[in-house]
Amino acid sequence: MSDMIKCPSCAENNLPDQEFCQYCQTRLQPLTDPLDGADAPIKPGQAPTKINTAELEPILPQWLRDARDSARKDDQQAAQQNLQQPSQPKPASSAKDPLAGLQSQAGDEEDMPDRLASITGVTSKPIKSRTESFAVRWVELGGKDDFAKDESDGSSSDLAGLKSSEPQPDENNEVRDWFRNLGNPEQAQQPEQSDSTDSDLPDWLTQMATKENLQPEGTPPDDSADVLDNSPVPSSDVPDWLRVLGSQNEKSKSADSADHSESSVGEPPAGIMSEEAESPSDSPKPDQDKSFEWLKSTVPATSGEEIPDWLSNDAAVPPTFTAAEDESAELKDAQSNGISDRSETVALQSPIHTESEEKSIEPAQDADTLGWLNTFQAVSAYQPENSLAQADFTPLDFAEDFQASDNMDGLFTDIPDELMSALEAPPSSLPTADAYSETIAPDDQTSWVEAMRSVDSGISKLSSNFPADQTVESSGVLAGLSGVLPSGPGFAQMSRPKAYSTKLQVSDEQQAQAALLEQILAAETAPVPIASFSVLRTSHSLRWFLAFIVFVMITIPLFMRTQMFSLPVGVPMDVNGALQVAQTIPESAPVLVAFDYEPARVGEMEAAAAPMFDQMILLRHPHLTFISTNETGAILVERFISGPLAVHNYQSGIQYLNLGYLPGGQMGIRAFAQNPRVTAPFDMSFSSAWDSIPLAGISSLSQFAALIVITDDAEAARTWIEQTESARGAVPFVVISSAQSAPMIQPYYESQQISGLVPGLYGGALFEQYNAGRPGSARSYWDAYSLGMLLAMALVLGGGLWNLALGLRERVAAWETQ
């Protein structure tokens, strides 16, 4: 029988290997695979999660506190009215106030356990008797000032607060009636109890009551434990998983001490337990009687037609008690630390969203009507004498009150989707308890439940070491809540940060190492001296000495106007070519002269060019046209005409014409070679150049009789040679260059691109020999020049020999040492 699976739709039994109901084709086996790994359900013997309900008070929102305050006031007024009219109980709850039924009871303080006493701030009183009648009572969360007291009492105190208070015999009687009604449908149909609740109860509860009337009698009327033990429900109707749980619970009871077993068995679900434990109520609450009244009518109504989810959850609560039994010790520890617990927070926000209830969700989904009834009766049967905690089987009351509230949806906002889906699932889709007897073991929890357990345990460990954080959240979904986020390392700064000195604290060894590092870095960045040559150490004085020698050797011949050295003999071919040009140009022929040298070279260039121009003027009286690509060339032309050639009295515009500066560099020369009239239309006096006498009839470069370039730069000579090569034709081309650029221009003569070359003072001296010694500047410089050149040769030779001697001496010394 136990292997049969009861269809959740038609309640017919099916074979366990069938996937679908053979009567209504409803799926019997779940589609999901068994959970394993991280999502595996919690197994028996696994460490339970610490549940701390003591610090829920600080996290309550202000509106809840206000509601509670107002409810407390109403309770006080109602208590006074009850004292005056004890026979007229008030409704258990108000539909407007969802927590109205959570009124505290003044009498609870007498039985308040230490951990709850620490919450309320009232010293707990010793538990009078375990056998006292108990009753399910609503406990309201106390005020903030009522918390945070010592909860160092033993586990026995956990359930002390759950006991019914003695000053409320009526209430206890009501509780007993509640259980009494489990087996006594007649009392459940008492008009005075049902009248007040029928109007508030939904239809399904009414139907449940009707079903309950059909249950056999035999439930002990006075004690819930007896009710459970003596439940007349046949064991065959009890689901297997409940039967197993009952047997386990009995085993645990026999093994544990009396207090422990009492607390473990009777410990309610976390959420509800938390609310009860945090109740700082001062006065009894007669309104709760109403909640039991409807429960009286609810419990017998165990028809299998429609079972609400919350009621199904209640059917699975006993297993959670078993699970919570193992957690009682840790729970007390956590509560004694006075630190808020996340599980409690969750439980407070949503009473169903507790660990214990989460365990019971799946069974509730599987339970049908009959199964639920059997379950409930089975629970009553396996609850022994310590039915005090079982009397706190308040989820029914709470759920009723909860559903009666207008803000029910808002309280479910934090329920996980799985739980929400379970709650919202239609009863017809719920499998039977038998079908889930194996998969919904008491410790079988889903992954998110397990995750919550782990988080809670971690947080409770953290919170056990740090005081509670009463910080009120200012924004977000937790706005208005205080102490929601637990304090701990990494979560918040618990104390004033330690002041550290800004001074570097180093030891002597570290300082020594730092100094060593600095030395290494300094050595790396220090320049490495390059080995210098010892022979150059006296260069400064040697330089002064050489300068003095050269200066004296030059000044003396110039000052004395000596002619010790004869002019060079023989005419090189390049100079000879220039000489031929100077002597062969036509009479009064136009000659184009390019002045492209720097003023610093005036002495050399004039000495080199003056003999040729003197001879050429003397012999051919050419018309000279000067142009310069150098900015200072124009004034150097004037200096040249008025200096070395002053004796010829050449007049500008008549015998010579200065075209001035030719801009554009190589492009300017190229343009001038192609079209000189357009490129240089004016002379220095800003008059038309090409209409003057020197340029009369000249329109192109090839019409000049000769082209002479006076330059100290080989590049200038090369430019003139390159850019005028195609334009000048067969016009003789002579370059008068400086001595420093002559070697570079010599190849152009060898390649016959130029007709002659006059290299510096040497070339001028040659020309003077063929010009009767005129103008004589080369001759005046020649002795000094010759001495200077001899001195240079002597110094170079002497220096070389000196270095050779030094080198030989070093080598000999090195050879002798070897």
């Binding site: 300068a547 050269v550 200066f551 030059i554 000044t555 110039l558 000052f559 071919m573 610093a600 070279r601 005036v602 002495g603 050399e604 004039e606 000495a607 900015e631 200072t632 124009a634 004034i635 001035g660 500066y661 801009p663 560099g665 190589q666 492009m667 190229r670 239309p681 004016f682 220095m684 800003f686 100290d712 090369r718 040679i721 390159e722 850019q723 090569e725 195609s726 400086s738 001595a739 420093q740 650029s741 002559a742 070697p743 570079m744 190849p747 152009y748 060898e750 390649s751 016959q752 691109q753 290299p759 510096g760 003072l761 005046s780 410089y781 000094a784 020049y785 200077g788 050149m789 240079a792």
Partner: protein, 226 residues
């Protein structure tokens, strides 16, 4: 006392020559004064030269007094000048690229064409024709001299080019060296290069010596005249 222009120019020349010669004792304020004066005078002279030698005769005058064709041709460089002036504004500096591109392109074309036609090809031809006896006879050069000059020029050219050949291979010991034949020829090339550099140095020394002689001679002449 009347100061002639020759006396003034002679005094200035003597003074600035002494100031420049003071550099022999190192950098000093007198030398700096002379240099700054030269720089300032040169700048002023260049500005005047640019105005009177370039802008007025080659830009303004054609635009004012030139024909239509001259004005049209002058407008092109004027536009180029305006575009180059756009470099003053960073926002319009890109416009100057047009004129600069024209200048760079035209300049490169002129230089390359001139170098090819005026230097490279003629120099190669001259090296090849070093042994041209007919050309040598035309210049009244003996055959021996032609052969010797041609061989010397050819050897100098070849060995110098070999010296600048830096291709090498890895030896067995791991060292990287050129071939032995190339090494020997490169050594000869180094001799030719040394001779060339010595010649250039001699020319530089001769030019500087001539300039020094001229300056000292001018000082002596100035002192002797006055």
């Amino acid at each position: 006392m009347v100061f002639s222009s020759d006396l003034v120019t002679g005094l200035l020349s003597f003074l600035f020559t002494i100031l420049i010669f003071s550099y022999l004792i190192g950098d000093n304020p007198l030398f700096r004064i002379a240099v700054y004066i030269f720089v300032g005078v040169s700048s002023g002279y260049l500005a005047a030269l640019a105005w009177w030698q370039v802008i007025v005769p080659r830009l303004i005058y054609p635009l004012v007094y030139g024909s239509v064709l001259e004005k049209a041709f002058t407008a092109i460089p004027l536009l180029g000048a305006v575009l180059i002036l756009m470099k003053i504004s960073p926002r319009l500096a890109g416009l100057a690229r047009i004129a600069m591109a024209f200048l760079v392109g035209a300049g490169a074309a002129v230089i390359i064409a001139g170098a090819l036609s005026g230097t490279l090809l003629p120099q190669i031809a001259a090296t090849i024709n070093a042994f041209d006896l007919s050309a040598a006879s035309a210049r009244n050069i003996s055959v021996v001299e032609v052969v010797f000059n041609g061989a010397f020029i050819l050897a100098g050219t070849v060995f110098t080019l070999i010296y600048f050949h830096f291709g090498a291979s890895t030896k067995a010991d791991g060292s990287i060296r050129r071939l032995k034949l190339i090494e020997i020829n490169a050594l000869v090339g180094r001799i030719f290069i040394g001779i060339t550099l010595g010649t250039i140095f001699a020319g530089v020394y001769a030019a500087a010596l001539t300039a020094l002689i001229e300056r000292i001679s001018s000082l002596i002449n100035f002192i002797g005249n006055y």
